[in-house]
Symmetry: C2
Subunit: 226 residues, 2 copies
């Protein structure tokens, strides 16, 4: 690919048509996670499922994930995921894999009834937990709301959740703790609408200043010990 | 891969050895972006470069990216990226591509001098901007600190930055605004130390409830119009 670089200033970005700007800026953080968020609630206690690319790791001890949500609208006009989480305090995170990308993407349509039924995914109950997971996901977990931070510049919310339970295929868990997302056909997102599977380059050893060429292992299950 | 599922509770996670827990929980958000953060500052006004997987999209109007930082230690003990950003108010975000993964990973070692020199990457100055970018990156941009949110549960910080300029190869920019990260050899991360290139599945049309089978385009440069 030609490497003729284009430079855009903040004014150039602001002057792009809205959708073109959205597609560009959504590409600028790099590849993103793709997860289905499962919740339940509202006047009819309906299950809800929505695809997001805004789940982010926040810490391991305690195990915290962040979820960036658009500025919520009043409950009777939408934002079902946000209001269900506010009501029940819990949600599920379900990794999207290559087999369910079209169904996952389709959950972003505005449905009046359950997205599970609408797109053909199966609710997976976890005993005593007030949000449904997704049976077709290979990695699924339940989170409990720990905090909500307002992002004042644009009205978005950062929901901080603690992982209460997690399920994944035992065969994908390396002895050193690494979970082999690629072996589970996990996908990454780009921009607003791009989906990708991955091909591993390798796992690199903990970097030390006196070893300037980090060891690389191409077998992702061959970890670094405890 | 065998689909015998393992279930871990929050107590099971908390009782894992620290490194094993870190490797697992860092895998649970899904694939992550991989970026080099460029800053400059401190008593000797040194350039600094560090690899992160915690850059996240926050919004397109204005164009905002988040950067999750570990709990900062006092300046004389480390946290150079954090303190440089606090001092200058700016940083660069540089996408890691397949050609520079070993160098990028190596920036996580504790160097006393510039990581640019230590790992063999080239500072790329942007006129009037107080943080160096990375010449070898195909997508590079400058951000200005807009806000800092404390994550009270673990002492981390969410830095919110507005994009002030961005540079990328013109040939990778689709007419509808999408930036083709895969054509630019961009990489995704998994866990603490895994790196992956991608293979595109496709771009999916805006989902509508009355069209349950979303159109998929496998040419990533063939967008959806404005």
């Amino acid at each position: 690919m030609s490497q003729d670089f284009l430079t855009l200033s903040d004014d150039d970005i602001a002057l792009l048509p809205q959708r073109k700007r959205g597609r560009l800026v959504n590409s600028l953080s790099g590849f993103k996670s793709v997860n289905l968020i499962g919740t339940q609630g509202g006047p009819e206690d309906k299950p809800n499922l929505s695809v997001v690319s805004s789940v982010v790791h926040l810490g391991s001890d305690p195990a915290l994930l962040g979820l960036v949500m658009r500025p919520p609208v009043p409950r009777d006009r939408g934002s079902h995921t946000y209001w269900n989480i506010r009501e029940t305090g819990v949600w599920t995170v379900n990794h999207v894999n290559a087999s369910i990308v079209p169904q996952a993407h389709q959950t972003s349509a505005r449905y009046e009834f359950s997205e599970f039924d609408a797109v053909g995914l199966t609710p997976w109950p976890h005993c005593g937990f007030d949000a449904p997971a997704v049976e077709e996901a290979h990695v699924r977990m339940g989170l409990e709301l720990a905090d909500e931070l307002p992002i004042e510049r644009n009205g978005c919310k950062l929901l901080i959740g603690q992982i209460r339970w997690v399920e994944f295929p035992q065969a994908a868990w390396a002895p050193d703790g690494y979970l082999n997302l690629e072996a589970l056909d996990g996908v990454a997102a780009s921009g607003l609408d791009g989906y990708h599977v991955t091909r591993g380059i390798g796992r690199f050893a903990y970097a030390k200043p006196d070893e300037p060429h980090p060891e690389c292992r191409t077998d992702f299950m061959d970890g670094w010990g405890e």
